[in-house]
């Protein structure tokens, strides 16, 4: 350990910080918080958007009553918000039979069981539809409900939260929010549990669409209506339907493409991102000042110790490097802490999003599958297109690089003045022989 100057400098720096453990901890902690906030503002929004995009259940479009597109998506795909209104069964049949519509599944909402939505649909949704490319719904226990029975197929998350299993019986409650006074008399029996999908359907209790339509106490007029129609399209059907429903018609609203509507929703949240970025900036500033104050304190208290080192033969440069190494250590601790803080914030956010929407977000997925594939074929790409070809691969990591580089700069700048002070401090003054 004492063999190389590098190790000696590192040891002196480490022991110096250890002697001021509390101040060092506060400095590193503050930088961690700033870094964690910075990463969170960037990554959580991006991951949430990605997760919501991946949670559209394999549908390209949604048809619903005339009204807000966002409300329609949130209601039909994410099982949030109230339904903007109903469509007639004929409207459903019309779009189902339209050319270019590959699949059309009507859904009906309006009831819940302890806050978890009951969504009425056709059993074919679970037999034929791919909620993700190549993935159909799978039943982990039991079977799919029959179209005419009072049976339920329960999403994995809802089943676990409600303690439902095959054979369980329950009475639905009217409305989308739980109110114990609004219990329906109908009794449903759970006939199957779905495998988890990581999509909002995990939070849903699926029942036959006729169940919602004809639930005791519901308006008889609703017996022939649906809340929305989930659509899979092929070819240019999206353009034609968009024209037909949104631009020329005024009876219904078509949301297509779903990702574009979600993107505009997330764009509306950018003010929140800006505020968090501002908070992160101020926390970083405070962290920088704390590092500066800590290193200055260490420097002032260790002037004599540095003078002793000089007496033992250490050069000015060694002493200066010790102070800079201390700022480097604080920066490193700050970077590690920033990732931990981000992990904490990210997992809390992911848990909240999962609880509230059923959407599964992975806050630690810094490399997407596509990027991974691209990384593997990196060298041939560079050979073919030169180093500029790397830019699209590096770009997603830019905020990460900015974070690491930024914390090092903060540490270095904060340590610079104390380091210069160490460099310029007079050996004789600090040993102070004036006699």
């Amino acid at each position: 350990m004492f063999q190389s100057h590098f190790m000696v400098i590192a040891l002196l720096a480490w022991r110096g910080l250890k002697q001021h453990a509390f101040s060092s901890f506060v400095a590193a902690f503050t930088i961690s918080m700033a870094g964690g906030l910075f990463l969170s503002t960037w990554k959580i929004k991006e991951e949430a958007q990605k997760a919501f995009n991946n949670s559209s259940g394999g549908f390209d479009a949604v048809l619903g009553a005339r009204g807000s597109k966002l409300q329609l998506i949130l209601n039909a795909m994410f099982h949030l918000e109230a339904s903007p209104g109903n469509l007639s069964w004929e409207q459903y049949e019309l779009i189902r039979d339209t050319r270019g519509v590959k699949e059309a599944y009507p859904i009906a909402v309006g009831d819940n069981y302890y806050g978890y939505r009951l969504v009425g649909t056709l059993p074919e949704l679970f037999r034929n539809h791919e909620w993700k490319k190549g993935r159909k719904y799978e039943v982990q226990d039991g079977r799919i409900f029959s179209a005419d029975a009072k049976e339920a197929l329960v999403g994995d998350f809802a089943a676990r939260k409600l303690g439902l299993s095959v054979g369980s019986q329950f009475h639905p409650y009217h409305g989308l929010d739980f109110d114990e006074k609004k219990r329906h008399q109908d009794t449903y029996v759970v006939v199957g549990l779905l495998e988890p999908t990581g999509t909002p359907s995990d939070r849903v209790i699926w029942i036959p669409i006729k169940g919602i339509q004809k639930m005791e106490g519901h308006d008889p007029a609703a017996a022939q209506s649906v809340s929305a129609v989930l659509l899979s399209l092929k070819g240019a059907a999206g353009f034609h339907l968009d024209m037909k429903y949104n631009k020329q018609g005024n009876q219904a609203t078509l949301v297509w493409p779903v990702a574009a509507e979600l993107a505009s929703f997330f764009d509306k949240l950018s003010w929140f991102e800006d505020i968090l970025a501002l908070v992160a900036f101020f926390v970083a500033l405070v962290g920088s000042l704390i590092i500066f104050a800590t290193l200055r304190t260490v420097m002032n208290e260790k002037k004599r110790e540095y003078a002793i080192l000089r007496c033992l033969g250490a050069s000015r440069l060694v002493v200066t490097c010790v102070v800079l190494a201390q700022s480097l250590f604080l920066s490193l601790a700050g970077i590690i802490g920033a990732f931990l803080a981000y992990g904490g914030i990210g997992f809390t956010a992911a848990r909240l999003i999962r609880e509230k929407t059923g959407v599964v977000m992975d806050p630690l997925s810094f490399v997407t599958l596509d990027q991974e594939k691209e990384w593997k074929s990196l060298w041939p790409l560079v050979q073919e297109k030169g180093y500029e070809a790397l830019w699209p691969l590096v770009e997603p990591f830019l905020p990460l690089l900015v974070l690491v580089f930024g914390i090092f700069v903060i540490g270095f700048v904060s340590g610079l003045i104390p380091a210069l002070q160490a460099y310029r401090s007079s050996l004789s003054d600090n040993l102070s022989p004036k006699s």
Binding site: H5, V8, R15, G313, R316, S428, K434, S435
Partner: protein, 227 residues
């Protein structure tokens, strides 16, 4: 030829009144190789400044210091750092051990600046000063006398040609002071190091065959030197 020679050495410090107060004004001082020399002087008479000039910690205003054929006062700062690391051992009155490091680490640290870290030798030195069982103790866990012994071991870590000791017994009781003094002399002799020890204590200086009075070499009366 003297191993250490100082000629026409002058050093002054700014005085509070704005002028300069001369602390060292020395015509000639020399030390033979392998000699053990005790220099007596009153407190505040400029002895420490003289030792710092010899060690290259301070730069003289005028004059020359030649140590083992090298003109110390002409050396660059980094060369003086190297000289201190390789050729000079220093024992302070207040020991000046690094508190965050163990006894062994204090000795090894001194070796590291010389570029030759020999752990067995560091352990042997600590054994020689009677601290073989306390190598991993921190200075605060040692008695005053033990701390001074670590300081002695550290000063000899690089087998220096010259050991400068500044009131090494000043903080010790007479019994421990005597022990530390004997140890310092023995180790210097064993390692072939010259020793220049300064003290205001008559008894300490009397134990040396080679004795000098600071007042005899320094031409500035101690009454003129400010504390």
């Amino acid at each position: 030829m003297p191993f250490l020679e100082a000629r026409c050495l002058k050093k002054s410090f700014p005085s509070p009144e704005g002028g300069k107060s001369l602390v060292v004004d020395l015509e000639r001082f020399s030390l033979k190789p392998l000699s053990l020399c005790g220099m007596k002087g009153e407190s505040g008479s400029g002895k420490t400044t003289f030792l710092h000039l010899l060690a290259g910690i301070l730069k003289a205003d005028e004059g020359s210091i030649i140590l083992d054929g090298q003109e110390v006062s002409q050396l660059s700062e980094s060369a003086r750092d190297r000289l201190r690391a390789e050729s000079i051992g220093y024992v302070f009155q207040s020991f000046n051990l690094l508190q965050g490091f163990t006894c062994l680490e204090n000795v090894l640290l001194a070796m590291s600046f010389c570029g030759q870290v020999k752990k067995p030798w560091a352990k042997e030195l600590l054994d020689r000063v009677g601290l073989s069982k306390r190598t991993n103790y921190y200075p605060r866990q040692l008695s005053i006398g033990q701390q001074q012994r670590v300081a002695v071991a550290r000063a000899l870590a690089n087998r220096p040609k010259l050991v400068l000791a500044d009131e090494p017994t000043g903080n010790l009781d007479p019994k421990n002071g005597q022990k530390a003094l004997s140890l310092l002399k023995e180790l210097c002799q064993e390692n072939g190091s010259s020793l220049l020890l300064v003290s205001h204590e008559e008894k300490v200086i009397e134990s040396f065959d080679n004795q000098i009075k600071w007042e005899d070499v320094n031409q500035v009366p101690s009454s003129m030197i400010e504390e």
